[in-house]
Amino acid sequence: MVIAAMGTDANLPLVAIAGNPNTGKTTVFNLLTGSSGKVGNYPGVTVERQMGRLRLDESHAARLMDVPGTYSLSSRSAEEQLAIHALAGIGQFELPELVILVVDSTQLTRNLYLVLQVIELGMPLVIALNMSDRVSATGTEIDAEALAAELGVPVVPLAATKHEGLEELRSVVAKTLQKPEVARTTWRWEIEGAELQEDVRAVAATLPPDWYGNSAKRQDALALWSLLSIDDEDELEHIPPVLRKVVGERHRLASKTAREIDREVIAGRYGWIDAHAPRFIKKLTDPAKSLTDRIDEVLLHPAGGFMVFLLAMGLIFQSLFTGADPAIGLIEDGIEHLGNLIEALLPAGIFNEFVVSGIINGVGSVLMFLPQILLLFFFIGLMEDTGYMARVAMLMDRVMKSIGLHGRAFVPMLSGYACAVPAILGTRTMERKRDRYLTMMVVPLMTCSARLPVYGLMIAALYPPDASAPFAQGLLMVAMYLFSTVIALIVAAVLGRTILKGPKVPLILEMPPYRMPHWPSVMRMMWQRGKLFITEAGTVILLCTIGMWFLLSFPRDAAASGPAEDVVPTTDAVQVGDAEQGAADPEIVAAGSSIRDSYAGQLGRWFEPAVEPLGFDWKIGVGVIGAFAAREVFVSTMAVVYDLSEDEDETSKTLRDRIRAQRRPDGSKVFTPLTCLSLMVFFALACQCMSTLAVVKRETNSWAWTGFLFAYQTALAWIASFIVFQGGRLIGFE
């Protein structure tokens, strides 16, 4: 993606907006750009990049580029490296004309560390002193004019969530763009000691000249960046070997005389901050116990905190699991009505079927995910904005670390029990690529709600109608949940130690003060996520649905001229259907024979030898293929294959009886308890969901990872079902 093509005019001046995490940078960005913000990816990596148009006054505007939040420009990974590349205009990045640094007034000293780094780069800089309305609560006072004088750059006090100071910021940015020299200042601190000066000189001489243009200041700043960032185990990109070599030499040389370059540089910056802070931070009173202290006494209480945590997670899970149902039902009804309407409007025939069963059905299967996605991102946004997400990561750290995952992976993993699609989108809350990928690879193993109708049908087929064994049935359902969870944890532990092995990362987690959520930002994030899902993953899901429709309804059989929607299983088949509806309906019998002769049917027969050792016959094979569109479709596909109305559901007597009555050619029962169990295990583990794959493709931007997910899950499912079926037979079950 070319940076200039991000929806804003390339000839407008480029302004970068940067800052520490939790400073309200996103809110400031949103307020400055209004509705013009666009989400894209940084070149080469799947880190989100926001671009927007910054209106300055009646006749002037600028392009505003959001730089990922960071405490420091020094970096260890390609993702972290984006900040320095974006600010210094390295590689594919254009050099910004001005940097807006959003600073949290209540944590000014720590924020000034990043400010000093940006000053070192020689960038014209405007400080947006955000949260200035909250300073008094910390018992201090900040003198913005003194700060501006000490730093030598403009400082604008801001209370973004109250919309205070924004117009002032706009006008200062506009003025500064006209006269950038008022915002360009000299290094605040000196590199002290002949040895460190020599380190910087040596490294500066090996930097690629296009990194710093003709700015000697930026050359020194990038030499410091290299000294602090490059080491033997970093995951940085585009570092010239000679630079890597020289930095290594300087560190080895320093350690011989017991010097530590990192500490000298960092202490140099903090030395300036500590010496000058009293001139602009006035201590008024010692603060009383803060609100954050009082909230954390409850939320991080060793016992009570976990209770609140479980309650909060329970609420989120319950909302995703059942709360989204009314909205999903509305979407389904709407799609069905639209389908009926169009079906009546268009002349009957293949085109009509294509539009109704292919396209409209496909759009429906995309939109159906929207309620859960919006709900999940509402909760994630709320937890991030209030500061609770950091507490979740803290509380879950020990558990998640034991399986090689980040504490933040807990929320996506939990959401996976409702649906893998929003859960995979939710992995974005993690910074490291490896953490995101590992979470994405295991989330599809969680027992999602779409597996429930299949389990329901199998459990019903397992137990004879007269033997009411609700306890055993419930127990089996619980066992399936436990089974999938245990397998997911094992897979995470295995992948995390093999192909997704990363360096051991110590936990350093900022605990931001609790804040009221900024509702427009939360809503905006929900909206952007939903839009991204529809435009990017949605198109793939739509194409897959059309493909499935084709597989299930072609080649056309002369005998099967029944309406197409009887042929194609629709996802609404999970709803309670009319159990008494006749199995003798000739039209439905025709539909059944049509699906048997379809490409999917042929495919099912073709790979019957592959599923036979699992105890499946080719009809189940067709059901498994059909379930790829969505797992719950298995129930309706089975109904069609067994010549029943597609309105059958898992509680329908007819379908259950029909399934129990199925015989193999040799007269033995198809759905023995062992086959049912084997099929349930297969559905628990197999990657039976094209929407999941579409979303994984979108998030990893890699067919290799998508293919890997599909391959390992299918292999795992086959092996586990094989063990259940063949092992069960060996020990005498049938």
Partner: protein
């Protein structure tokens, strides 16, 4: 001088040494955990194996086993209402 991981909650201490792997040390120092800095242990949750530490008005959670690489020394806290230390010291 003793390791940070078993410092009791509501205790102030002076940081003497930041150990551990280089990226861990560097990130901590950049967040203000420089030798000589004053810090305060906010909470220490043994069940979760994590602890929260405040340095320069900024709070950070660390794992207890990783905090073993940080060494601190007891200090007289002079800020009233800050920690248990000042109560012990009669402020």
């Amino acid at each position: 001088m003793h390791p940070l991981h078993n410092v009791r909650p509501d205790t102030c201490a002076r940081l003497l040494e930041v150990g551990g792997e280089r990226p861990f040390r560097r990130r901590l120092m950049e967040l203000g955990f420089l030798p000589g800095s004053e810090l305060r242990v906010i909470r220490n949750i043994d069940v979760g194996g994590v602890m929260e530490v405040e340095v320069r008005n900024c709070r950070v959670t660390l794992r207890q086993n990783e905090a073993q690489a940080l060494f601190v020394t007891a200090m007289d806290c002079t800020k009233p209402g800050c920690c248990d230390g000042d109560r012990r010291n009669g402020h």
